[in-house]
Subunit: 319 residues, 2 copies
Amino acid sequence: MYILKSLIIPLFLLPLTVCAQLPHAPAFTVIPLGVKGGLDESNLSAYMVAPADSNDYICLDAGTIYAGIQKAIDNNSLSGSVSNILRTHIKGYCISHPHLDHVAGLIINSPDDTSKTIYGMPYTLKVLEEKYFTWAAWANFADAGEKPVLKKYHYALLEAGQEMPLTGTSMRVEAFPLSHGEPYQSTAFLIRSGDTYLLYLGDTGADTIEHTDKLNRLWQKVGPLIKKGRLHAIFIETSFSNQQPEKLLFGHLTPRLLMDELRRLGQVTGTAAMQDLPIVITHRKPSGDQEKRIQQELQDYNPLHVKLIFPVQGAGLHL
Amino acid sequence: MYILKSLIIPLFLLPLTVCAQLPHAPAFTVIPLGVKGGLDESNLSAYMVAPADSNDYICLDAGTIYAGIQKAIDNNSLSGSVSNILRTHIKGYCISHPHLDHVAGLIINSPDDTSKTIYGMPYTLKVLEEKYFTWAAWANFADAGEKPVLKKYHYALLEAGQEMPLTGTSMRVEAFPLSHGEPYQSTAFLIRSGDTYLLYLGDTGADTIEHTDKLNRLWQKVGPLIKKGRLHAIFIETSFSNQQPEKLLFGHLTPRLLMDELRRLGQVTGTAAMQDLPIVITHRKPSGDQEKRIQQELQDYNPLHVKLIFPVQGAGLHL
């Protein structure tokens, strides 16, 4: 009788769940260690991501590490010491591009870090190797570049379109090149845990401004995942408010340009699939009241009714 | 009669002042923007210094700028917006050496900064030019190095033993090379305002460990200023506690090594002149409880009875 009941209830509930398009059960835990697009050294782009049932995190970009972990501990989003979380729970770093506001935390914490992998496309790892992890500027904690190599970090080269395991976690990553204002390139990371996905974009301009199709290619790839309900969130930048002149965007997005790009993505998925899709807004530049203006402009014009999330340093997200 | 009085009173007070060794009137205002020796990106070495009656500051090292100014505003040590203080009140930067925990704030804030001068010895400016202010890693905001040069910052080369004006302030600087663990060099800055001085040392090892006489030469130079009561403070590092093994000092000081060096300085000045001399302890490394241990060890063994000051981010010092 008990067996029968346990069979009946799920069968009874299943159609309801599908019809009502209930939110997904969270598949990922994300701890934002830093959320701002520059200037404030205590709060620069870095996001710890793990499967919902795991403490094995990968860190997406690494602008601020130590101060962000401390904030997450203060907020009860993480427990333990900063040192233990840095050394034990962060299993590796995916770096979107080598601008200092995306790598400073990794470099500054490298003396106290443990052995792990740094994932990046060639243009990212080349700058780490030639500029930062050098004996003139710092120390070469990596396993390539200027000798002697201390081999604390292993550089893992990502190739576009090739999924790679993220060592020490159950997740995998696929990289997509982005355009970040000539001549800079950046990277989007599609993180997979089982059959669920999370998409993180480093700094990027809009295809129309950058004269490229890199975002369009990415939308063609992830659109089908959104249609199937497998993509749980998109982390994407909005650095400037709509007031920023087009010629001073330096490879970044505004609210209007973001919504234009999401509309293109909606053409792949259909508009229904975009409704309530979590879009996590990263990299707002903290000049004057710009962060507030960006938030207001996005909330005022959100034609696809995506779920806008404005991450807070140290406050965990369940996506 | 009034004229006579005004002559008599100072003459009468003068011998008393000398005999009682009253503290100096403060000659400098120092706003610590960051005080730690690494890891915590929100609080890395940077000290704004101005004559006591001025708002025209020079910034000695630049590990954390934005987050430090914000903290100083929160503490009522500075007033205005972060952006205005950065752009208007910091007139230039003296960089002791180019390790990232001493320059990250300068680089990260450079897009929003105004035109100013960066002072450094050749080994410092070379790394800024070849590694950080490059088009691969960031943008070349300086006036030398990889083209195109944006010329926001002017590199001013400091030569040992030559005093140079600090543009935009009434102060002058003289640089002294320090040894910071083979092959790294670092710099001490002797800042002068009128006939008063403040000495700031970047990271440095002890002469005995570094097999050099660089600190000894510095003590020979500043000892006479201390004897005359003209040196108002020494900012010097103590990165590690006494537990740190000698072979793992990486060009840094411990409490014991600092007191050894101050003893050598005391041999130049005489011990009486060292008593109550403000010694501001910089660059404690925040691993575990090390910051507390360093403080305790210094307080427990202070044979010359110098005035130990442990700076707090954002809390102004009047020296």
